[in-house]
Symmetry: C2
Amino acid sequence: MAKSHPFTFSMEKFCVHILGCGSAKPTLSHLPTAQIVELHGKYYMIDCGEGVQVTMQRLGLSMHKIRHIFISHNHGDHIFGLPGLIGTMGLLGRTAQLHIHGPEDIRPFLDTILTHYCNGMDYEVIFHPVCTREHNLIYSDRSVSVYSLPLEHRIACTGFLFREAQSLPHIRREMIDAYNIPVSQINNIKAGASWTTDEGKVLSHEMLTTPAAPARSYAYCSDTAYVPQLVGLIDGVNLLYHEATYGSDSASRAKVTKHCTAAQAASIANGAHAKQLVIGHFSARIKDENSLLEEAKSIFPNTLLACEGLDIDIF
Amino acid sequence: MAKSHPFTFSMEKFCVHILGCGSAKPTLSHLPTAQIVELHGKYYMIDCGEGVQVTMQRLGLSMHKIRHIFISHNHGDHIFGLPGLIGTMGLLGRTAQLHIHGPEDIRPFLDTILTHYCNGMDYEVIFHPVCTREHNLIYSDRSVSVYSLPLEHRIACTGFLFREAQSLPHIRREMIDAYNIPVSQINNIKAGASWTTDEGKVLSHEMLTTPAAPARSYAYCSDTAYVPQLVGLIDGVNLLYHEATYGSDSASRAKVTKHCTAAQAASIANGAHAKQLVIGHFSARIKDENSLLEEAKSIFPNTLLACEGLDIDIF
């Protein structure tokens, strides 16, 4: 995280870059699934469909900023971009560790890549298996905590919930000035301290600060059948990306293939009191994605259609 | 091969579609290596860089027509498109066998793909290892014979020589008409028979036919150091694709990395009496590919620069 000025009030960037939002069969409209979550200057990749390294170049997103990749499940349209990405990072002289989180199923593919294509690479790839049946904290740093979200698909599959770390309250500059409080005390006050003036007057933490903006959150749920239990796990989420592979006219196909309709995605957003929903993972059979959008909006109005190159700010 | 009318004289299509001609580091200018050789209505793929299935869609080339894929070597920029291509062929309901020819090194990657991503697929993938140290016939059908070409790279690597099957001579229609030769005899005459009229006059095969166009050939040599022995193996080739990763100003880098300069590629074309040369596999360091073209043309004038989407007819 860039060191901010003690009086900086603006929110740090928290944004999702959609790199691909198609489903398994490739089309000319969409690339296979991949996203970058940008938070406080760091990139966290979610899923890694084929071609992702070229898409990142086209969108001007540097692969050097990726330290963690979260893979939902071991289907090709979510993982076949990994060999190229890992190899290219090596060619570009990466030295920082790369952490890959995902179901145990992806290990053989990863092992094959690392054994046969990464000799002489100057960086280490570390795999962290994720239990897909539990809602666990799987990673945290000072900017974010990432939790698994149990999904229901044809193979083991997990979603991811990104919870921004709660930032410290903002200092009221006029109070600092009025009472000549030394700048050296600001971090203590932000952290909860009060201040006693030379005259013995106690200025409480609350008098000296205004509350920070609430921490934001992002949930990624793809691929999955309709899992109503999700709503409790992501309650109040700022942005939900939920798969909407089909429309309700293909509800039976959605059920068989363990995918969701747009209405089901919207119903999850609604139940979870999400602030915004973005739907994606569109089937190649969908002729007009606006019909999915309309279907979702009739249940959850603040819905967006994902598309390649879309950046969604979370606030 | 489409059944042709007995009097058809036109040559069958023999063409190379360039799908990608970049090298290992991805750029916005080029995709990693892949080509389709189209011959008599069949597609033979050479190398299979990441993203190839999308490129084929964009160029309107059907992946159903591919029966054989020839892989030169086990570097990611020549093979990382395979998982997606194999998987998508399965999703699209392919039933025809797919044959993959390449060095033994590629087997672990192929095995991992087939074991972990191809369950329930309705078609079979058959691997045919190619010895990279010998010049052997590795495949033939009634349209073509494909030979390996020993190359010299940092790992085992082979080129490929496609030799079109010699087609039968053309029937001289005016002779058939003048002597009332039954249409049923035409295939025999094409195959070498003469014809004796009711009056006992013998019309020789040569009188009844004109020679077929000479069989054409295409050689693919990438990735490789300068291998002057190649010229004897591909003498008289109609079209040579030869890698030209660098210009002569980077000759020492070419030597270390076991690649070629444009001048070396042209020298191979010259020595082999090739009719046309197309150079590719450009390093991401190359700022102006025209300098490579000029360098090659100064030695072998009939040189083309490869680019994605380029179709080169062989005649």
